[in-house]
Every structure is written in C-alpha cells, then in structure tokens.
C-alpha cells in the first residue's frame, strides 16, 4: 500500500485556504488578487509534483482521515487526473494573473478572488477525487462559484445567463445523483476502484445500464455536447474575461475527464462500452459541425470562441469514442493543447474589448480596435488562431495530427473526413476575425477608444506555452501515451487505491 502523498491535498486545499484568507482583506482588492495569484502558483507547483510522482511511481493516493479506500474518501492522482490537474491549474493561474492587470469592475468586487479560488478548489478536487459522491460535491462547489462570478459580471446580461445555467446545471447534478443512486444500488460502493474491482470479478449489474445512461447525460451536460449545448454560448460569453477564459478552456473538460473514467474503469462490460462509445462518436461529430458553423455565423468575438470550444470538445469525444490506446492518448493531448490555445485567445479578445467604451466584443464594435494596440498583440492572436486551426509548427497541429493518426489507426474514415472538413472552417473564422480586428481601419463613427487596456502578459505567456508545446511535442506525447496505457490497465489503479491485488477481495 502506497504512502499518503501530501501534495494531493496541497493542490486541492491551498486555493480553498486562499479563498478564506482573501476574505479577511475585504475591500482591499489588490491584496486579495495577489493572494489569489499566490495560491494559484502554489497549487500549480504542487500539481507538477503530483504529476512527476505519478509518472515515476504509479498512482498517488491520499486517504483523508486515514480511512482505507472503500470506506473513506480518497484523492487519487494517477497519470490521467494529474495531467488534467496540471492543465487546469496552469490555466487558472494564468486567469488569476490576468485578473491582476484587469480593468473590469468585477475584479474589484470583494468576493471575486474568493469565488475564483472556490472554482479552482471545485475543479481540481473533482479531478483528483476517487469516488463518485465526492466528485458531485466538488462539482457543485465549482458550479455555485462560477454562477456567482457570472451573475456579478460587468455584462448586464450575466444575471440572466447565470440563472439559466443554474437551472440547467442543477438538472445535470440531478442526473449525477440519480446515477450515484443507481451505482450504489448495483455495487454497494461509490469508490471508482472498488467498482472497477467488482466489475473485474463479473459481479452483479442490476442497474448498471441505468447508471451508465444517467452518468453519460450528466457529463455530456457539463461538457456542453450537442443536445445539451444551448446554455454554453450565453453563459460563457457574459462571464468576465478571466472567468470566461477558465470556463471555456478547462471547466468544460471535467465532463471529458468523467467520460474517460467511465469508459475505462466503470462501464467496461462489452455491450455497455460499445453503446457509450457509439453515442459519443455520433454526438461528437454533430458537435463539431454545430460548433464550427455557429462560430462562423455569430456576431460576437467572445461568442465565436465559445462556439469554437463546443466544436473542439467534439474532437476530444471522437478520441474517447474510438477508444484505442492511441486515440485516448490523442484525446488527452488534444484536451491539454486546447486549454492553452483557447484561454490565450479569449484573454487576447478580452484585451481588445477592454479598449472599447462598452467593453463589448461585438464584431461591429471591435473592428479596427487592434490597430491601436501594440503590434505583438495582433501577432499573438494570429499565432493562437493558427494553433486553433492546426497549422504546424504550433501545438494545435500536434493534437490534430495525433487525432487523425489514431482515426486512421481505428479505420473510422467517415468521422475522420468530417473532422478534417471542420478544421478548414476553423481557419476561415479565425483569419476573418484577425483581419477584422487587427488589419481593418477603424470606423470613424464609433465612440473614441479608452487610453488603457488590460495587461496582455498572461495571454503572452500562454501563447509562449503553445509555441513551446508545438516545437517540443515529444514530452507531452510521451506523457499522454503513458497515461493512456495506465488508464487502460485498470488493475494498476485498483491496486494503488485499494492496496490489494485486484479480484483478491470478495465483494461485500
């Protein structure tokens, strides 16, 4: 039985402590935001430590209160969850850095830092936890914090989007709870490893099918995949820029993570797995098209990027749906790279729209605004757009390459062809907005621009990360391949959490 790894608890709870500490500085927003950034940096460093340990010695475990696995709550950092946590904590740290140089009114709100760090705790905790019910609790923390952040947004429409999302995400939570009940009735446990262990012994499956349906619906809703996507563009577009960057790039990945866990550990029986994968492939393909066309047609820059996220999640679902080791590795690489590209692009658009009087990102109002900004901002936007479309040598190319390779490997010609077609649409809408914002001459009739804008430091660092991940792609690809091997080899996970050889303990 592996010893407790303290870094896991540091990653999850330092943001929570930071949130509480920041509340003591009520009304002094600069200090609060610095505390927030410091907590983000500590969580980021700890998540690097967890990833290093997970790659070296296998899954890391922390048992809360010293209770052993099926009875107590465990945090598990295996390769998959450590990679996802590193991705999330990096983007969250960049979001907190952006908030330091942001001129929106919302970042001066005394609750802003606490809510942002609450969102971080919920997200990282949901990725690290080893049982279904704790995942539900952490996801609720994340949802409530993000709803509050959008409701206090500078954009007046935020309130309406927040109430709409709270209703819809509560339905997702309801499905998750129903799935939890079905899982408990079937297995008598909620621990992922214990469920996997009982499945390996071919144990009963009274309600397993119902549980699979409920959990798939819940995770698809959290990721905003096709039939459940309608809330996403409204909710994300009205959010404050640093929050939007986090929501659209990493918060939607929680559903992706849950689906990977479901298809590799929880529902691995023949018929169920095939059914879930088929659903993911069909919905993923539809999402790619709806998202790309929506992004092409829309009237608002931030909304365009939100639609684009909706399409990119479809690509990741294709990887999960193909389900080969190569495809899973490609899905992980895709998720990781997309988080960097999308958050950087959203922050750059935030920088642009912070120049306008109304802080709007409507394409009619931001036309030509980019010409008043330093030249490198336009260059960064172009780099990010090319990365999103998958032009070499940027990291978007690496993730598209990995996905196409795995598609050829899995012999899925139809979905593959559709996916490549959608990539061309991405290139079209990104170059169109770049030209509109940074090349076109400003319209003389529009209101005068502000003389200051948000600091472009955070997106510059993220784009630098994109370029580095594109030029030196081998380490990430190796990590993802190792992670895919590890998650497809469920006994490793089960042994690390339960501390016994799989199938050695008898189900209760």
């Amino acid at each position: 039985m592996a010893a407790n790894n303290l870094l896991l608890i540091v990653t999850v709870f330092v943001p929570l402590i930071g949130a509480v500490v920041s509340l003591f500085f009520w009304g002094r927003d600069r200090i609060q935001r610095r505390i927030g950034f410091a907590a983000g940096v500590i969580a980021w460093l700890a998540s690097i430590g967890v990833l290093a340990a997970a790659m070296q010695d296998g899954p890391q475990v922390y048992r809360l209160g010293g209770w052993d696995a099926p009875f107590g709550i465990v945090l598990v950092g295996d390769a998959l969850s450590s990679i996802m946590v590193l991705m999330s904590s990096t983007v969250l740290m960049a979001g907190l850095l952006y908030a330091l140089g942001c001129h929106d009114k919302v970042v001066k709100n005394p609750a802003f830092t606490a809510l942002f760090l609450g969102m971080e705790t919920g997200l990282l905790g949901a990725l690290f936890t080893g049982d279904l019910f704790t995942m539900f609790v952490f996801m609720e923390i994340m949802v409530l914090s993000s709803v509050s952040l959008v409701a206090i947004s500078d954009n007046k429409l935020g309130l309406e989007a927040a109430i709409k999302y709270l209703f819809i995400s509560s339905m997702g939570t309801l499905f998750l709870l129903l799935g939890t009940a079905a899982v408990y009735a079937t297995f008598g446990t909620l621990n992922f490893a214990d469920i996997g262990n009982q499945l390996a012994q071919g144990d009963r499956s009274i309600l397993a099918r119902e549980a699979a349906v409920m959990l798939t619906a819940a995770f698809l809703l959290k990721s905003a995949v096709f039939p459940f996507h309608f809330w996403q563009p409204d909710f994300h577009t009205t959010a404050p820029t640093p929050v939007h960057a986090v929501l659209s790039s990493v918060v939607v990945k929680i559903g992706v993570y849950g689906l990977i866990r479901m298809t590799t550990l929880l529902f691995t029986a023949e018929g169920e797995l095939e059914a879930i994968r088929t659903v993911l492939l069909v919905l993923g393909t539809i999402s790619i098209f709806f998202g790309s066309l929506g992004a092409f047609r829309t009237y608002d820059g931030k909304r365009m990027l939100a639609y684009s996220t909706f399409g990119q999640i479809g690509f990741i679902l294709l990887g999960i749906g193909w389900g080969t080791p190569l495809a899973l590795a490609a899905a992980i690489v895709y998720a990781f790279n997309h988080a960097f590209i999308k958050s950087a692009l959203l922050m750059l658009f935030g920088v642009v729209s912070s120049r306008t009087q109304t802080k709007s990102a409507r394409l009619t109002e931001v036309a030509g605004v980019g010409r008043s900004l330093p030249l490198f901002v336009g260059l960064l936007y172009l780099l990010g757009g090319m990365a999103l479309a998958g032009i070499p040598p940027l990291n978007g190319f690496i993730s598209k390459l990995a996905l196409v390779q795995s598609g050829i490997d899995a012999q899925m010609w139809l979905t593959l062809g559709l996916a490549i077609g959608a990539g061309i649409l991405t290139l079209m809408y990104m170059t169109r907005t770049w030209q509109l914002v940074f090349q076109q001459k400003p319209d003389a009739s529009t209101a005068p621009l502000k003389t200051y804008n948000d600091s472009p430091l955070a997106p510059a660092l993220l784009i630098a990360g994109c370029v580095a991940l594109g030029l030196f792609a081998a380490p990430l690809a190796e990590l993802a391949t190792a992670a895919a091997d590890q998650i497809l080899n469920a006994p490793v996970y089960i042994e690390a959490v339960l501390g016994v050889e799989p199938a050695a303990i008898v189900g209760r």
Partner: protein, 110 residues
C-alpha cells in the same frame, strides 16, 4: 411500505418536473426543491441494497445501511446551498425586470 415509498418518490418526481417547466421563475425554483427531495428519498431507498433493511421499516434484525444517510445529509446541504443561491438570483431578477415570467426575461435573445 416499499410500495408506498416508491409511489411517493414517483409522485415527487412528477410534481417537480411539472413545476420546473412552468413559465414562472419562483414556481420553477419550487420544482427544483421538489426534485432534490425526490432524489434524497431515492438515495434512502437504495440503502435497501443486498438484503439490508431500508431505514423506513423496522422489520428484520439487520440494521439499515448508515452510509446512505450520510450521503443524504451531504446532498441536503449542497442542494440547500444551490436553492438559496437560486432564490437570491430570482430576487435580483424580480427587482431588475419587474416580472418573474420567463417569457419576459429575454434580453439574451436580442
């Protein structure tokens, strides 16, 4: 007793879904509360798993499963938090829009 319990849960789900689909934010929020109560009762019922007695009967000598009760307590706290936030947002909407009809709270569509 099991039958009564099943009918109660089913009725609560039906009522909750009906309320949730009405065109009034307060009524929809009520549906939300009803649905979460229904799920909590469902969690209590799945404690009857594998021969153990559920908490609402006193037949047999086997004690009921304590874990589901712990789960319900947590779920009650969490759903209470979301319900409070939801009612707070409904309150702000009512002062800003001077109405609670969902058809009239529609600035996002414009």
């Amino acid at each position: 007793m099991n039958l009564v319990f099943a009918i109660t849960i089913g009725t609560l789900f039906a009522l909750g879904v009906y309320q949730l689909l009405r065109r009034d934010l307060i009524k929809a929020a009520m549906g939300f509360a009803l649905l979460f109560t229904a799920v909590n009762l469902l969690l209590l019922a799945v404690g009857a798993f594998d021969g153990a007695n559920p908490a609402y009967t006193d037949q047999g000598d086997q004690p009921s499963d304590p874990l589901v009760q712990a789960l319900i307590l947590t779920a009650i706290v969490v759903s209470f938090g979301s319900y409070a936030l939801l009612l707070g947002l409904v309150n702000v909407v009512s002062t800003r829009f001077k109405t609670l009809r969902t058809d009239d709270v529609d600035q996002l569509q414009k």
